[in-house]
Amino acid sequence: MPNRFGFKDLLTVVLLAAVLVSVWLAMKQFDRQWDRLAALETQTQQLVAEQSATRRDVSELLEKLETGGVQFGGNAVSTDAGFDYDPHARMEVARGAEDFAEGDWVIDAFGTNIGTVNPLVNTDLYAFRIQTYVLEPMVGVDPETLERVPVLARSWEIEENLEAWQAHVDAEMARPLTDEEIRAEPAFPADGTADEQGAYVAERHAEGRREVDIVADPDAPPATWITFRLRRGPVFSDGVPVTAEDVKFTFDLLMDPQIDAPSTRQFYVNLKSCEVIDERTVRFAIKRPHYEALGHAGGRPVLPKHFYEQFTPREFNEGVGLLLGSGPYRMPDPENWRPGQPMELVRNERYWGAKPAFKKVVFREISNDVARLTAFRNGEIDIFAAQPEQYEQLLGDEEVVARSQHFAYLRVPQGYSFIAWNQRRDGRETRFADRRVRQAMTFLTPRQQIADDLYLGYAEVANGPFAKSSQQFNPELETRSFDVERAVALLKEAGWEDRDGDGVLENRAGDEFRIKLTYPSGNELADRIVLYLKDAYARAGVVLEPDPLEFAILVERLNDQTFDAITLAWGGGTVERDLRQTFHSAQAIKGGDNVMSYINPELDVIIDEARMTLDDEKRMELWRQAHAIVHEDQPYTFLFNRKTLWFVDGRLRNVTPVSVGLNDRTEWYAPLATQRWTD
């Protein structure tokens, strides 16, 4: 076979060369177009920024004209004195700093994949965190004072209709409870005989059930009306102004049963209706009096009608990337983002308020704990929410500590974990119905040791449902420390002692003190805590059997109240904590949150009184009394308030702890010299 370089080979080589040259030329051409495009983009951005500044000035002027805030020849008239809150004041302060500079990105990391950013069809916290940059509500919360403050709304007016509402409810409630209604309650023993407390419980339950029915009736008068007046300035990131129609559309979309948003919807069951009064006025009717009514009606981010109404419910449900709003950042493409694509928000140049410093907010998906830690070490992410172990590990690394800032704080509103001791099961009292037993269990729980060993000190022992910093907290109450002797004494008083010498306590009837502690499975830390409890309880002769349950089954047990003891946690909730939900006897119904059937008529009275007391000082005094009762009764053994642990890259400035945690990232910036990322 002759190995000669023939004509065919020559042709191939020439063709190949030609192709390569043309590809290279094409690339050159492409590059030049790219440069040109980038230049054009910068120009457009500048134009948009200028335009939005002009628009802002004009609308401010208009607004002042309307409210009479503008002075014409000395005739100063101000009507809305209470609503001169500037939602961007904190941002303006940051912009005023000496080393403030625009530019750079801030990069956050998520522990899971972002499945959706759709504002209604989502179930995870991560999507919510992205949305806070893109969407804005009418009413927000001041990060420092925790008061409700206007954002998209300029002002609001609350009209109480309490008398008519109360009259309606009273009329319906006046009808005495029938025996059947009481007997139908699950709390009522099946054999038809109830002890005094059992009858009381069943009655409270029947009462609570009827009240729920009355309020849910669509013909019932609303308890409250809230009217919002919108600002003139705000526009969505595509330039369309925010109007009352958008607010109503948001409400209608949320309540549309065809929209897959059951988990979001359930928070707003207290909203009755929403009507548009004029272009910038909207009125909500509220079903029952509720201290959070304003937050419910005004706290929902406003969605642009013109954008979302293009989609059918099905398209909307499946549109994981549909996100457009009036916030300081926007999705580069509000329609077509898909999971798996990088999640980057770009600054909204049309934003109606003060602009944040960062050009981009980037969210990386790193599901592996160790990889996330490594990424922070390498400076690939700026924010790292640490576990206690990781926090300690990073603190031990001088290099990391030198180029970062770290924060450990108790957030407000504060959550707490607890063990609930079930006092009634199958209509009968359990061993935990005896207050002494519950107190003994608290004495037996080595809370400080667990906080030190497992949370490495980044948790505080909780001594009640209230945050220690709040006015509701009663400082006179002493935290029960681990004390086996006192526990044994209390148990003996209640009739529990080791009668047959096998090490386990028995009561007079010979029942052994064995309890199943139910807790959500799949959490390594929970497993370890339960083993601590098991060993500690053994010292007093109490046998604890761990009962890890999947959440679905656990909820079933909660509903049926078929558990001995359960350990769970309550989230933050509201700043002022209402004890009714957890400790009022009316909540001891099936499906209510007083899952352990804790009944104390004295506490019921105080809680009811506190809820109706408008005077802050008096109400706080009542809460402190309630706290004392709860502390004495120990329906829960209160466990821990966990600290939130953050590491933040050192180049970011103005990262400051505020009441709610860390201040908003729109207030952060990176000085010009240390900026890391550009396009």
Binding site: T116, T123, S263, V370, E380, L568
Partner: protein, 362 residues
């Protein structure tokens, strides 16, 4: 042959019904049923909200109806022929008519997305893992098998025999933990990443390795991906080739003793040529027939590997689905892995028939 294939495909239908029925009824009869998607790490909850949510799912997906009804409903949903469904203005499903329709794998409760999309994203990842693993397994298995046969009874044969068995016995969970612990951890060597398929910064990298303007070397997206794949692939490879290698050895031994090989040897063809030129190709035949058969095993293996290295493939998706009690996702997982397995078995049988003319299925 064609009738055989058709018959086998038809026989798959009752099998798939059986598989999904087993999974469905295990799931439905277990305490708790389908819910539990609102789990947060600390176990925070609001019972009334949970109840509202459950009521919604019951109405929407008929979760409160008799089991057999629920299963029938699901079958109708995935079948290409059946009653069409549409949502009425209350958001409740209504049946609109009978006929051909687009099969629907349903929606994931826990992620609120169509199941098909989720598997569409996860399947390529698992296929990539296996696409890299299978050739490596083959090369090692064939080479070690051939040499073991060639040096039969010698130390090499004994060593590979025992060594392969030992490798095969190493639990993947152990290998994974050791590899991550020693080769990818701060405390020891930091040679490899601990998990995932790409670095955080891979999105902004060039595809190929390159030098940046300031002269620093950048590894590029491709190398980065490969770098992430090293440990998972090692975990998948090491235990898989023992079986194949043994098969190869047996097959080579058989061909070496065949008449034509002996003839070749007698004619004075050198040993190496006899082995590679004559025996090797024929010995490869039985191995090809089992090629498809090892894929289901690898699917099972990648479930563990994906879990350990937090790779978002099919295995991890399925595992998450099971833990979240995500009915449609779990059933679709069973369906998909079942179909893959059955098709692989069918292909293996067909390969066998094609490779060996004595086997006939007609």
């Amino acid at each position: 042959m064609l009738t055989y294939v058709i018959r086998r495909l038809l026989l798959m239908v009752p099998t798939m019904l059986g598989i999904t029925a087993v999974v469905f009824f295990v799931m439905a009869l277990s305490p708790g049923g389908v819910a539990g998607t609102q789990l947060s790490a600390e176990g925070e909850l609001d019972t009334q909200q949970m109840a509202a949510l459950r009521a919604y799912y019951n109405a929407r997906y008929g979760l409160d109806q008799p089991l057999i009804h629920q299963y029938g409903r699901w079958l109708n949903q995935i079948s290409p022929l059946g009653w069409r469904q549409a949502l009425d203005d209350q958001g409740l499903p209504q049946y609109t008519g009978f006929g051909f329709k687009v099969p629907d794998l349903g929606n994931s409760f826990s992620r609120n997305r169509p199941v098909l999309d989720l598997y569409g994203e996860a399947l390529p990842v698992t296929l990539l893992l296996n696409a890299i693993t299978v050739p490596i397994v083959w090369v090692i298995a064939v080479l070690s098998g051939v040499y073991a046969a060639r040096f039969r009874g010698k130390w090499f044969d004994v060593a590979t025999g025992t060594g392969l068995l030992a490798l095969w016995s190493i639990p993947v969970i152990w290998a994974g933990v050791l590899l991550i612990g020693f080769l990818a951890n701060e405390q020891w060597l930091r040679l490899f990443p601990t998990g995932g398929l790409n670095s955080t910064m891979a999105g902004g990298m060039a595809f190929m390795p390159s030098f940046a303007e300031d002269g620093t070397w950048q590894r590029g997206w491709l190398l980065d991906r490969l770098w992430h794949l090293v440990l998972p692939v090692v975990c998948l490879v090491y235990g898989s080739f023992a079986v194949l290698s043994k098969l190869m050895r047996a097959s080579v031994l058989e061909t070496i003793s065949a008449e034509y090989v002996r003839t070749a040897r007698a004619k004075g063809v050198p040993g190496k040529r006899v082995l590679w030129g004559h025996a090797f190709r024929n010995a490869l035949l039985p191995l090809i027939t089992v090629a498809a058969g090892i894929i289901p095993g690898l699917l099972g293996g990648s479930l563990i590997v994906e879990k350990i290295f937090s790779i978002d493939g099919m295995g991890k998706l399925t595992l998450d689905a099971i833990f979240a009690r995500d009915r449609d996702l779990v059933l679709a997982g069973a369906l998909i892995s079942g179909v893959i397995t059955l098709v692989c078995i069918l292909i293996a049988d067909l390969c066998y028939a094609i490779a060996d003319p004595r086997v006939s299925y007609d």
